[in-house]
Each structure stands twice: as C-alpha cells, then as structure tokens.
C-alpha cells in the first residue's frame, strides 16, 4: 500500500510501481468514482469490456436455458412467441398479477437486525 498527497491544483501523481501493478499506463482514460472519503480510478476500457462479457454470459445462459427447456413455455406458461408478442400493457398486467400472487404466497416475516449492522451508504466496499 502506498500513499500520495493531492496537490493544491487537485493533481495526484501516481508512482511507476502503482501504474505497473494496476496494468494502467500513462494516457489511459480513467473513470473517477467519488464518494465521501473515497476516490476510485477505473480503466474505462476495462469497464467497457466487462460490460460486454457480462452481456455475452447472460445471452449464453439464456440460449442454454431455452435450448434445454424448450420454447413452448418460457415465462408464466407462455411460449417464446407469445411472450414476445405481449404488448407493453399486457406485459405490465402479467407482471402485476404474478407479483401479487408471489406476495400473497410469501408472507412477510420481519426479523430483528443485529445491532452491529450499518446503513448501506456507510459501508462502501
């Protein structure tokens, strides 16, 4: 772990070792994520690639899922064609009904939260 001091101008100079360890080189475009007490610098291109990977993984799982379970009943008993043919209003109404059913089946049972738990915004990873 190293420390740096922010200059009057707001500039931060990162050491060569830091850049080597992060595999981030001079000229790389970074995304700055700032929260109270925290600044993260992320390689914009790596984030883009990660988004693409996640997209491909999701598509692959869906393809496998549809291939394994068939296209006759993909959602709420609807075939793939029927599901895709739903209008915005029909899809909305279907989900309203399904959600209501799920909420009725699943009775809310409140639990005590241990005293040491903190609000999510206080605990950043």
């Amino acid at each position: 772990m190293r420390t740096v001091v922010i200059q009057e101008t707001g500039a931060v100079v990162l050491s060569r070792e830091t850049l080597e360890e992060s595999h981030i080189s001079a000229g790389t475009e970074l995304v700055v994520v700032a929260h109270a007490g925290q600044i993260l610098l992320l390689d914009r291109e790596q984030i883009r690639r990660r988004v693409e990977e996640i997209g491909q993984q999701m598509q692959e799982v869906l393809r496998t899922s549809l291939a394994r379970e068939g296209k006759d009943a993909v959602f709420a008993g609807l075939s793939l064609d029927e599901y895709l043919a739903l209008s915005e209003e029909e899809d909305n109404a279907l989900w309203d009904r399904l959600f209501k059913e799920a909420a009725q089946e699943l009775k809310i049972r409140e639990q005590d939260i241990p005293a040491g738990f903190v609000p999510a915004r206080q605990k950043r990873r």
């Binding site: 984030i47 883009r48 999701m58 899922s65 699943l106 939260i113 903190v118």
Partner: protein, 181 residues
C-alpha cells in the same frame, strides 16, 4: 477523466427487472430492443461491471425463481441478491401508504430503508432504481414530509433501526445518462 455518480447498493423495482428480462430475450434473438428495455438492461450490466450490489425484494425473488419463470429469469439470478425483511418494515410501509403510495411502492421504499443484507451486514440500500416515473415524482414531491415522518419514526428506535436512511429514487434512464461510457 469522467466523473460519475455510482450507488454502491441498488434496489431494483419490478419494472426494471421486467424490462431487463424482456430486453435480454430480444437481444439474444437478434431483435431490436425497445428503448426502455435497452436502458434497464444496460444499467444493470453497468452496475454489475462496477461491482455494485443489486438487490430485489423477497417477493420479486420468489416470482423469478418459480420453475415457470426460470427459463427467462435464470441469466439474472446470479447477479441479484435478496433483501431480508427487517423489523419495522410493515410499519414504515403503512406510513407510506398514508402518503398515497400504492401498497407495492410503499413496500419497495420500505425495503430500501428496513431491508437488510446478512452477508454485508448492512441495512437498507442507497438507491431505488425504477421505471415508474409516477412513483419517482410522488417521492420527490413529498420528500420533505416523507423525511420528517421518517425522522420522527426512526429517532424513537434503537440501533441499528435508528440509523436507517431514506433512499434516493432514480429512474433507469437518469442513471444510464450518468453511467454511459
């Protein structure tokens, strides 16, 4: 450099999950996605890529994990976490229905303050992500009154409920504007 606003924890409402699921089916089949589905799917992926926590309510989780819904829901489940129901969730929800929120919206907003994550040991979330612009507008309009009632309620409670916080309510479109690379 690009500076972005990034919530570390986000509760997805039903509308965002619905649009994202349908969007993935369209995308995988090579069809053109309607705009809201593009946005919901893209925002979810972006938040996952940044390593942020995406939560849904137990009711929505129960809906997605039903065998009849799994073929379409399966690609998303590994990326989602289920919030648990903390004490005072129902009381909070009743207060919000008095503010003219629907029962469903009141519960979403209550989970955002009194839901908890056993793994992270946290209470609530920073942001509710929605496509329901009416709910978002109602929350924004009533925010001073909602805050006042929330403060009156929580200051009488013991820890950790006393530290519970109100979430920001943001539309998928707004967050996408912030996150788009």
């Amino acid at each position: 450099m690009n500076r972005i606003f990034l919530p570390a924890s986000c509760l997805l409402d039903k509308s965002v999950v619905r649009e994202a699921l349908r969007g993935l089916v369209y995308e995988t089949l090579g069809r053109t996605l309607p705009p809201r589905q593009v946005t919901s799917l893209a925002v979810m992926r972006m938040l996952i890529a940044y390593g942020q926590l995406l939560y849904i309510t137990p009711e929505l989780w129960h809906l997605l994990e039903r065998p009849a819904h799994l073929p379409v829901a399966r690609p998303f489940l590994p990326y989602l976490r289920k919030l648990q129901s903390g004490r005072y969730l129902k009381r909070r929800s009743r207060r919000l229905t008095e503010e003219s929120f629907s029962r469903e919206d009141a519960f979403i907003l209550s989970y955002a303050s009194f839901g908890f994550d056993e793994i992270e040991e946290t209470v609530g979330v920073e942001m509710v992500l929605t496509n329901d612009l009416r709910m978002q507008a109602r929350y924004a309009r009533g925010f001073p009154r909602i805050t006042a009632r929330f403060t009156r309620m929580t200051r009488q409670l013991r820890a950790p409920y006393r530290e519970a916080a109100l979430p920001e309510v943001v539309s998928a479109e707004e967050l996408w504007t912030q996150l788009a690379l």
